[in-house]
Symmetry: C2
Subunit: 189 residues, 2 copies
Amino acid sequence: MVTETREKMVRTAALLLAKRGLQGASFSEVLAASGAPRGSIYHHFPEGKDQLVAEALALAQARAMDELERHRGESAPDVARAFVQLWRDVLLASDFSAGCAVVAVTVAADAEPLVEKAAAVFREWQGILTDLLATGGVPSARAASLASLLIAASEGAVIVARAEGAIDRFDAVAEELVEVVAAAGEVSG
Amino acid sequence: MVTETREKMVRTAALLLAKRGLQGASFSEVLAASGAPRGSIYHHFPEGKDQLVAEALALAQARAMDELERHRGESAPDVARAFVQLWRDVLLASDFSAGCAVVAVTVAADAEPLVEKAAAVFREWQGILTDLLATGGVPSARAASLASLLIAASEGAVIVARAEGAIDRFDAVAEELVEVVAAAGEVSG
């Protein structure tokens, strides 16, 4: 039960970060949205809000990693499609009200350790995507830069889609990305 | 003099948005950073903070548009290089502490009109980039989606670079983008 409360608070913080940014994910908002009792804050997160945010980032990281792992061994374009789809799902499920918790922390954090945590998530995604793209047929010299392109363009396309409240330009970007990855694989093959 | 104070407040708000996000661009921060007298707030911005933020967005939009206009008539890869360079300059000039004011507003705004303003900036950039890429040799059917890719990937790469405090992955993304645009032009030629 105690563990459930804690997990619920972390999930709620991740959602609030994705929807309303770093300042929107305050303890009081997390309590209100998760229904956790006030006393649970310092019981579960003795180091304060930064600890809660760090765990929300870890959750966001793990979700993407788990989803990507499911596509290990698939062709590079399929891996690219899966990564893009992950973000498309976030946009559609939230009616364009949610984006990426890692982005939210990066653009608003004034605490160095939190930004370092965000960087660590990007590095993890970069690592697994590079690996999956290379395994899926992209020349290894190119896999890292295509992984960087996938991450950057997906994150940016999520932001544009949120601003516009429409999926069109996200889909245009996604199509370009899959095509670039496919072309890189063909050159090698 | 009055106009100078007003302009300085808008410039300061744009910088604070780019550096510290929407909540970091409060009136008190803008006053502290711009040295404007307290009374100037409601004199210059009777509609409050949202008015100031909207004008900061308009400034960010105009800066990018002016810079892009200077490259009208150049080849599509040169246009892509110029757009990417604009963001690279922001990162390096700020030692990775600043990003894009439009992104900052999108991921943290809870006011619909501000998000609509952010969307309008993205649309303006999309319009001019599509135009310049088509003029620069990209087939017109492809120009819009490549413009979307350029905007999304640049914005995302800025965020990753800020998190990491390093330019490497930004440069990898930039190189991929220029290459994609160049290849699209060759197909048409």
